[in-house]
Structure formats: structure tokens, C-alpha cells
């Protein structure tokens, strides 16, 4: 043990006195571990974030999107077959459906107030929207059922719209123009932050779906219907019921594809997990390659060092070092250098992550898994890269080495 400590001191001294070589050796591992830390942290972080969102989206909710083979958030050609009446019929006809929420969403819609104007997302929906999305009015009130029945020109606005059009005024009771239709503001929504795609959810204006269809968009179809079920254990049966019901209403014969897409929480989770599997494979590949490169760099420089330090090896052998002592010294040098590179790499990675999360709104929590993985792989790289050069050093004959 004592002897081991002494070998360690000798190894550290050799590392400390030959800085250029040490820095060169460290570089590969440093970069490899830094990449590993950044990618692993952001993948794990993103996954946790998405899972949290799926949970918030609700395990009792399914989405019906107009058009075949749709994925949430991916724009595709307009499909006009999903109607408001479909949504109402789903609510009244299908058992286990607790509530429905029809939706028409158009982004970048011009909105004016006096001489101020902005572009907003217009969401035409009903009174259930707030509870379905787990939000509500911060001031004023949300849409009511009467608003929908009377096609009232009322709007609930998000924080960003309020800031852009009203600054410090109280907007409730004031008017804005949406597509040159005057709307009365009845409430301001709670701040909702950013969507997974990076859209500002506070740049929305919510209006009654009937008003939207007749006065703003002039369309009789919907983009999506959100359905809430009462009993989530019956989810798959309800999904089936909704599908059969809509096929019948849309007169789709046997063999014809659905003209709508049903998105369930399980589907979203499956999509996410396959996405994160792909990410993880990518992560393993990228950091694997950089660590292999790091190992090759260390091994090469170590081989060079062994040749350069033949005199030292011979001298150490002459004054009593066993082969084992030389092996341990060189191996410790490699492992110490790799570990130091690993620690610096983790530090650099975390720093990069902080900068990155500042710029890109990446969810970047500091997690222990990437740190442990980085450290362990650095040590392993040091051992693998160091063993052959260390063996070569230990087996060089003292007489030859002293010559």
C-alpha cells in the first residue's frame, strides 16, 4: 500500500513535470466526456420534460385530428371532413365521454387595437378548453356556453398579446380587431410559457368556436377535437367507439382509410420512447467515437513517452524497481491523465450546457448519471489506453534501456 502510494506520487510527478504531453493526452478524453455530458444531460432532460408534459396533457384525454396519418404538431394539407357536429355527437352519443373541446387554430393572424397591431394565434374553441388544457383566466372570465350559442364576439387573450396591445392598461372590456371584426376582451389567461416546439403559448387569443367559424375563418370544419373520458381504464374501448362512430358519420366504407387521426396518451408515450431510443443510440455512438479517439491519442503518446523515457525506465529498474512497479507507474500515469481529462470534460460539458440552455431554452438540469458515466468512461479509457504502453515499459530490458 505504502509502495503503491509512492508509485502514485512518482506518476503524478511525471504528469506534472511534462505539461505539454499531459495536456495533449487529456484533450481527447476531455472532448469526449464533454460531449457525453452535454448530450446525455440534454437527452435525459428533454425526456423528463416531455414525460411531464404528457402527464399534464392528461391520461384521460384523446385527440382527434382531422386528416389521415397525422402527428400532433406536424402541418399537412387541410382536411374538411371533421365538423363541429361531429364533436357534439361524440359527446352526446358515446358512453364514457365526459367532455369535448373542438379546436381551430390559426397562427400569425393579424390583430389590431387602435394604431397598435400584432400577430397572434387564434384558437376557436368552447368553454371546456380552459379545463382541458389545465389553465384559466387570471383576470376577467373565460368563454361561456352562452358566448358560443350567441356567437358572441368575445375574446380571452394571453399575456404577450396584453403586453403588446395594452401595455399597462386593464384590457378587460376593451375592444380589439381580429380580421377587422371587433371583439370585446373578457379575460386574460394565466401565463402558460412555451410549447415543446418553442411556440409562445401566451401569444394566443381564444374565441368561441361558432364565432370563429362564421365571422373570422369562414369555415365549417374543425382542425381537431379533444375528447376527455370519464374512466381512463376504458380508454382503448372508447377510442374504438369514437373511431367507428366517426367512420359511420363520414360514410367511410370498409377498406377506406380513416379521414382523421386519433392520438392517445399511450401513442404519444410510444413515440417519445422510440425517439429517445434513437437519441440514446446516437449518444452512445458519438461519445463512443470520441472516447475511442481519446484512447488512441493517449496510447500513442504513451508509446512515444515510453520510448523517450527508456533511460528513466532503465535507471528505475537498476535502483530496484520491479517490472510490476514500472507497469503500475505508467498505468497510473495514463489513468490519472484520463481521469483529470474526464473531470475537466464534465466541467466543460456542464458549462456548455448552461450556456446552451440559456440560448436554446433547453431543459438542462445537472444530473448525476452523465457525471458518473463520464468519470467511469474516462477511467476505463485510461486503463485500456495505458495497459499496452505500460507493459512495453515494464518489459524493456534494463541493460538495453540504460545504454
Amino acid at each position: 500500500m505504502m509502495r503503491m502510494l509512492r508509485m502514485g506520487r512518482q506518476a503524478l510527478k511525471a504528469i506534472a513535470t511534462n505539461r505539454t504531453r499531459t495536456v495533449l493526452m487529456m484533450l481527447g478524453v476531455l472532448i469526449g466526456v464533454a460531449t457525453l455530458t452535454v448530450i446525455a444531460s440534454s437527452v435525459i432532460g428533454a425526456r423528463a420534460e416531455v414525460l411531464a408534459r404528457v402527464e399534464k396533457f392528461g391520461l384521460q384525454q384523446i385527440g382527434v385530428i382531422a386528416g389521415a396519418g397525422r402527428k400532433p404538431g406536424v402541418p399537412q394539407p387541410v382536411c374538411t371532413s371533421l365538423k363541429l357536429e361531429d364533436a357534439q355527437a361524440i359527446l352526446s352519443e358515446i358512453a364514457n365521454v365526459k367532455d369535448v373541446c373542438p379546436e381551430i387554430v390559426r397562427t400569425d393572424f393579424p390583430v389590431k387595437r387602435g394604431n397598435k397591431s400584432t400577430y397572434a394565434s387564434i384558437v376557436a374553441t368552447n368553454s371546456s378548453w380552459a379545463s382541458m388544457w389545465g389553465t384559466g383566466p387570471e383576470t376577467g372570465r373565460f368563454l361561456s356556453q352562452e358566448d358560443e350559442v350567441y356567437r358572441a364576439r368575445v375574446a380571452v387573450i394571453g399575456k404577450t398579446i396584453r403586453r403588446d396591445l395594452f401595455e399597462y392598461e386593464d384590457p378587460v372590456g376593451k375592444q380589439i380587431l381580429i380580421n377587422n371584426n371587433p371583439f370585446e376582451i373578457i379575460g386574460v389567461l394565466e401565463p402558460r410559457g412555451t410549447s415543446p416546439r418553442g411556440d409562445d403559448l401566451d401569444n394566443q387569443i381564444v374565441i368561441p368556436v361558432s364565432t370563429g367559424q362564421k365571422r373570422v375563418f369562414r369555415q365549417d370544419y374543425l382542425f381537431a377535437v379533444k375528447v376527455e373520458v370519464s374512466d381512463s381504464s376504458e380508454m382503448s374501448r372508447t377510442v374504438n367507439d369514437v373511431r367507428e362512430f366517426l367512420r359511420e358519420r363520414h360514410n367511410l366504407r370498409e377498406g377506406v382509410e380513416d379521414d382523421f387521426t386519433i392520438v392517445t396518451p399511450t401513442l404519444i408515450m410510444t413515440m417519445m420512447s422510440s425517439l429517445s431510443t434513437t437519441f440514446s443510440l446516437f449518444l452512445i455512438l458519438v461519445s463512443g467515437i470520441s472516447l475511442v479517439v481519446g484512447a488512441i491519442v493517449i496510447a500513442n503518446i504513451m508509446f512515444m513517452a515510453v520510448n523517450e523515457r527508456r533511460g528513466e525506465i532503465g535507471l528505475r529498474r537498476a535502483v530496484g524497481a520491479r517490472k510490476r512497479d514500472i507497469l503500475v507507474q505508467f498505468l497510473l500515469e495514463a489513468v490519472c491523465v484520463a481521469t483529470t481529462g474526464g473531470i475537466l470534460g464534465i466541467a466543460l460539458g456542464l458549462l456548455g450546457l448552461k450556456l446552451l440552455s440559456g440560448y436554446m431554452k433547453l431543459p438542462a438540469a445537472i444530473m448525476w448519471q452523465p457525471i458518473v458515466a463520464g468519470l467511469v468512461s474516462a477511467i476505463v479509457v485510461g486503463l485500456i489506453a495505458g495497459i499496452q504502453p505500460a507493459k512495453k515499459a515494464a518489459n524493456s530490458h534494463p541493460i538495453e534501456a540504460l545504454r
Binding site: A318, R324, L402
Partner: protein
Amino acid sequence: MIKVENLFRTFQKGSLEVQILRGVSLRIRQGEFVSIMAPSGMGKSTLLNILGCLDKPTSGSYILDGIPVHNMDDDELSRMRNRKIGFVFQSFHLLPRMTAWENVILPLIYGDFEGDMKDRAVRVLQAIGLADRVDHLPRELSGGQQQRVAIARALINSPAIILADEPTGNLDSSSGREVMKIFHELHAVGTTMVVVTHDKEVALQADRIIEMKDGRISDDHATGSRSGEAA
């Protein structure tokens, strides 16, 4: 101290077998100062390597300080080198990035020394006249001083025998004389000294000269230059 009996050493050069040592027998007693002299290629380096436990004889026996060495494995030979032998080389072999005292303690690292290594190194360096060079790097020292650091390193484990291979070969004559003076001092306090050289002047400073030719001892005589200690 050293008892060598009928030592052979052959090297394999391709398909050729080269006999370097052909039956060397030799005794060196405790406290003797011996020179081994030979022109290069006559086997003196090979003999020195075997005496220094860096190499093993092909056949024959070698007993060092009462311990048979010729059958030892690599680890045991390392231990013998560490305990019994102090090497002094022609080209000093100091580690360039380490200070004088760090170089001097190297043999202690591979032994079971317990205690303050630096303290011990400083004392040896003081004894050898380098008290003010303890923290210097080899490149900051003259050739003679470097060789003295190397001698301090050879002495730190109190070895039974000092083996010096052309110790003055890389030095100017005054530094060479200085080194030989230290050897005489060490001899005076009872250290066994073996100096390998081809320099007649250096060889003559010993009590006894062993001459080698073609892998055998060709002559072995007292110099009489010192107090009349017979060989």
C-alpha cells in the same frame, strides 16, 4: 563479498551464438577497491551487468554477500539491486525533470524505507559536498556535480557494494579527480568499490586491478599504490 565461479554468458545473435564470458572466476572481499580493466568488447560490461544483478549468467555461480544470485527471478534480482548495489554510470542517468534530492531518493521508493526521504537525501548530499544544490535540477549542475548526485543516489540505501561503470568517462580531468577522491573516501570508511574502466590512470587508483581479455580474466594483481593490502 563477491564470489564468482566459472561464469559463462552467451548471447544469441540471429543463428550465431556469441560467447562473451568464458569461465570467469573471481573473489572480491569486503572493503576492497578493485578496478576491472579491458578494451571494449572484451566482456567487462557483461561482467559488470551480472555483478550488478541486471543480467543473469548462462552458467556458473554468483554469490553476493553470502546470497546465491545466479538462480534468482526478476523480482528477487530487483530486490538485490535495491538492497546491495549502488550504481554509478558514465552518463550519470539522472532524471532531468527532478531535483537533486528527488533523484537521490529513487532507490528508497522501491525499498521499505520508512521515514523522511528528503531528510535522508539531504544528509547524503551534505556528506558529498552538495548541501547547497539540494533543490537544483540536473541541468543547473556541472558534470562533476551531476556525478556526485548520482553517487549520493548510489549511497542512499547503504549498499554493500558500489559498481561504477566508467565513472569519469564523461568528465573533465579535475571533475574526474574529484569523483575519484570521493571513491577513496568511501573506500576509507569500508565500502566495497568496483570500478570498470579502460583508463589506466583511473584503474591504478584501486588496490587491485583485474584485466580481462576475450571473456576471461587475463591478469589479476595488486597495484601497491596504496597501503599494502594484498589481493
